[in-house]
Amino acid sequence: MKGFQKILIANRGEIAVRVIRACRELGIGSVAVYSEADRLALHVRRADEAYEIGPAPSRESYLRMDRILDVAKRSGADAIHPGYGFLSENAAFARACEEAGITFIGPRAETIQAMGEKTSARRIAVEAGVPVVPGTLHPVTSDDEIRREAARIGFPLMLKAAAGGGGKGLRLVPHADDLATAVDRARSEAKSAFGDDSVYLEKAVLKPRHIEIQVLADAHGNAIHLYERECTIQRRHQKVIEESPSPFLTPELRERMGALAVALVKKVGYVNAGTLEFLVDKDREPYFLEMNTRLQVEHPVTEMVTNLDLVKLQIRVAQGERLPITQEDVRQTGHAIECRVYAEDPERGFLPSPGRIVALRVPGGPGVRDDSGVYEGYEVPIHYDPMISKLVAWGRTREDAINRMRRAVSEYKVLGIQTTLPFFERVMRHPDFLAGDFDTSFVDVAFRRHEVVREAPWEVAVAAAAIQAFRDRKARRGALSQSAGAAPVSGWRVRGWREGAGGRL
């Protein structure tokens, strides 16, 4: 079987860098595409080839199938890796690749369509005997119908973009009064993120845990699961911390959810990597939420505990190879935690904080992995997702992994923009997090309520700042005397000036 010679990565940021790394290790050429705003992005610097595909807005660049396929043909790429987001769950794109004779590294277009459209996935899950959250099984478009369905399901409810993912176009609606505003906002976000403003409704599960199962299947009918990821800690319905194993699952529930996931994957003839997201309620009942028919942001957590390289496995499966492992070969070893480092200010409600990274120091040492898309001097653009890196720590136990993460966060320095790192430092010593006792409201509710506040070493900061200010002032005066010295003046005048300056210092 013939392997790929060259892979085009239809994405940007850290995930494009991640795929390029896998290509390089496999001896496969890599082709980057980039928008006008991304000429200096890390993925462009790391790839073997790079081509511009349009202006900064995603709709005019990273979502332009025609331009991406054109670059694929021009550069002679035989496959396209879509990463996550952008075109990764776009069935039309997968089909267009097939038609152009280029392998789409992901499931078949029909599967993306069936599982990617959220209400259709829910119907298929029901047919496969997988429990789902009560709600609408079809997208709803008219305001009338939304009101009617909402009344039937009852409040609180979740309003979701039918074409959605990544927390975009998703709103919790506590009361009937909040429905109209939430519908407007969700639709507008869905329209701009996915080009489709249809929504669906689900009953809100109270105190839920968000737990997902990683699956992997080849084109020869083999399908396995790679256990779970705990993704409960979210802000604005977007994950910020993930871990595996979940401290909440019992061995029985873990096996059961794995088996449900494999059953669903086999039912739809799924090929390549995918993730089934579940809500698990306080009585440990799992409900299938949706399937992500692509690589997930948080895949490193699974890689760390299973010792597998998911991107390489994706590439091998896409080349037509059989899975090199069976379910029995997959072991969950130790514990891994991922913190998503966002260019956001946790002190101001996680408001985006784009700008220039003035200085950067990245942690290292045992069990630490940083999947980053930025570098010192890089300007984080306003046009795209604010995630700049994923910091992952592995340990033999959950406690080891937490201690290691806290150590890694303390070594991580990003100057020039606000990041979520200080938030992670606080979470890693939060009593509820240490106890594994949290639900999706953790960031908004429990975090502040139960946090043990520690006094910061402010005197150290004052000493550092005061000495630096002192040195700055001294250096400025030194520079003044030097520029005077550089001027064509006679020897005695220079000496006189320097002595004068020295006296003032």
Binding site: A359, I382, Y384, L415, I467
Partner: protein
Amino acid sequence: MIFDVSVQGRTVKAEVKETTADGYTVVIDGRPHVVDFRETGRDFASLLLDGRSFEAGLERKEDGFVVHLPADNIAVALHEAARGSAAAHKKASGPSRVTAPMPGKVVRVLVETGQEVAAGAGLLVMEAMKMENELRAPRAGRVQSVAAREGLAVETGALLVVIE
């Protein structure tokens, strides 16, 4: 050199005395600390403070530094005591100015000039990094002017709405 310093809601005096090329005594509110300070790269320094070791990132700000310590980022505003007090607190009064909290794009404007708004009422929706954020009225009042226009790209601090 003596600095007036404000840090985490406190106001303190800090005096820096150079003892050797890299050695300093810093007296913070009367308490002396012996500090060895070495630059370890642009914007970074290693401090040995009374024998304790700290790696500090020093992010320059208009009025001082944000000091990045292993577990804390601490904003330290400081100015030399001699010419200090003039720059002290300027209090804003009069109309409330709602400014852009981040660079981004105005997606929708929800109010018009002359309209009465309640505290917390939505004024406009901004988009940055693919997320929409509603900016709300800081207090009740009448909208005096609306500088924001739909589709407008704005920088941090750009004036959007004034409420009187």
